[in-house]
């Protein structure tokens, strides 16, 4: 292997333009694997072992660990750094990340508020207007 040092930074100036640009090393892949495995085992353990009683806190921890693991994958497996493709990979990634955050955040925010602000439907109203809402019955849907 021509690039024994740490992943993503293992470039000397002379091979910057070569095909061997951002490639991994064995150590990089193994580091990524160990980190990803740890970041996977923790949320599974938290959920399956009922470790934390507070659900909101548990969900936040799971999502935080997922975001950390996504960055582990990006750095150690996809070898994204500021130098690959003269920085265009990173630009495209940042652009995508911003738009994905907008899509996800805005959808959740808008639909949450819509649900909250819709006129609440009382059980009496549901019984008087059975067509507008299927009561949560026990017969399976056709």
């Amino acid at each position: 292997m021509s690039q024994p040092s740490s992943p993503g930074h293992a470039m000397s100036p002379d091979n910057h333009d070569a095909m061997h640009e951002h490639q991994g090393s064995l150590r990089g892949y193994l580091t990524g694997f160990v980190l990803a495995a740890i970041l996977t085992v923790i949320p599974f353990w938290l959920v399956m072992g009922n470790v934390i009683a507070n659900k909101q806190l548990l969900i936040l921890i799971i999502l935080a660990l997922a975001i950390v693991q996504i960055f582990v994958h990006i750095v150690y497996f996809l070898h994204l750094d500021t130098r690959s493709e003269a920085g265009w990979n990173m630009m495209a990634f940042i652009f995508t990340a911003v738009l994905v955050i907008i899509v996800l955040g805005a959808s959740i925010w808008a639909m949450y508020n819509e649900n909250m602000n819709m006129m609440p439907m009382s059980p009496q109203y549901q019984q008087q207007h059975p067509i507008s809402h299927q009561p949560t019955g026990n017969q399976p849907q056709q």
């Binding site: 292997m1 021509s2 333009d17 095909m19 061997h20 640009e21 490639q23 991994g24 090393s25 064995l26 892949y29 193994l30 990524g32 694997f33 990803a36 495995a37 996977t40 949320p43 599974f44 959920v47 399956m48 659900k55 548990l58 969900i59 799971i62 999502l63 660990l65 997922a66 693991q69 996504i70 994958h73 990006i74 497996f77 996809l78 493709e85 003269a86 265009w88 990979n89 495209a92 990634f93 652009f95 995508t96 738009l99 994905v100 899509v103 996800l104 959808s107 959740i108 639909m111 299927q134 009561p135 949560t136 019955g137 026990n138 399976p140 849907q141």
Partner: protein, 208 residues
Amino acid sequence: MNTTAIDTAHPAPSDYYSLTEAPPRNGTLLGFWIYLMSDCFIFASLFACYAVLGTEYAGGPSGADVLDLPGLAVNTALLLVSSVVFGFAMLEMQRQRKGAMLGWLAIAGLLAAAFVSLEIHEFLVMITDGAGPGRSAFLSSFFTLVATHGLHVTLGILWLVVLMVQTVKFGLNTDNVRRLRCLSMFWHFLDLVWVGVFSYVYLVGVLR
């Protein structure tokens, strides 16, 4: 640049070609990266759907009722190991060791195939239990998101088989190396998306 004798009447090539900023030599990889980023949007929209619809059970089963966490743990491990093994194949490719590379690729492909089979089995169990995609908005968004990912993995396996045949027949030439690099990005990208799936769809799904 040996045409100066003919081109005297016309502007020199440097007037209308940019000679300083040549496109990157491996522009295919950048293009494929941009494809992957656009694929992110597909998954982002499906994640947004699931985020919005994930609690609309319509009187049907909830996430805690139908989602199988031990099976999920196996699937997650399969995909993660497959991703790392594909990385090993790329390292062998750099060393021009074709046989070793094909061996690692075969292992990565088999692990991914096991992943897809387990996922299909899980879907079939859910459907026979009356928790099919038509049951509720929660299940519709669940099946759409998870099956889209599974379809990506399936097509990745097909692509892998094609490239293995290509490599056996034509060797590790420039074209095949470039294609394998694209597939490698695709493979790692699908594992990255799976992190979102198992965390948000399954682990958060059983909690809410």
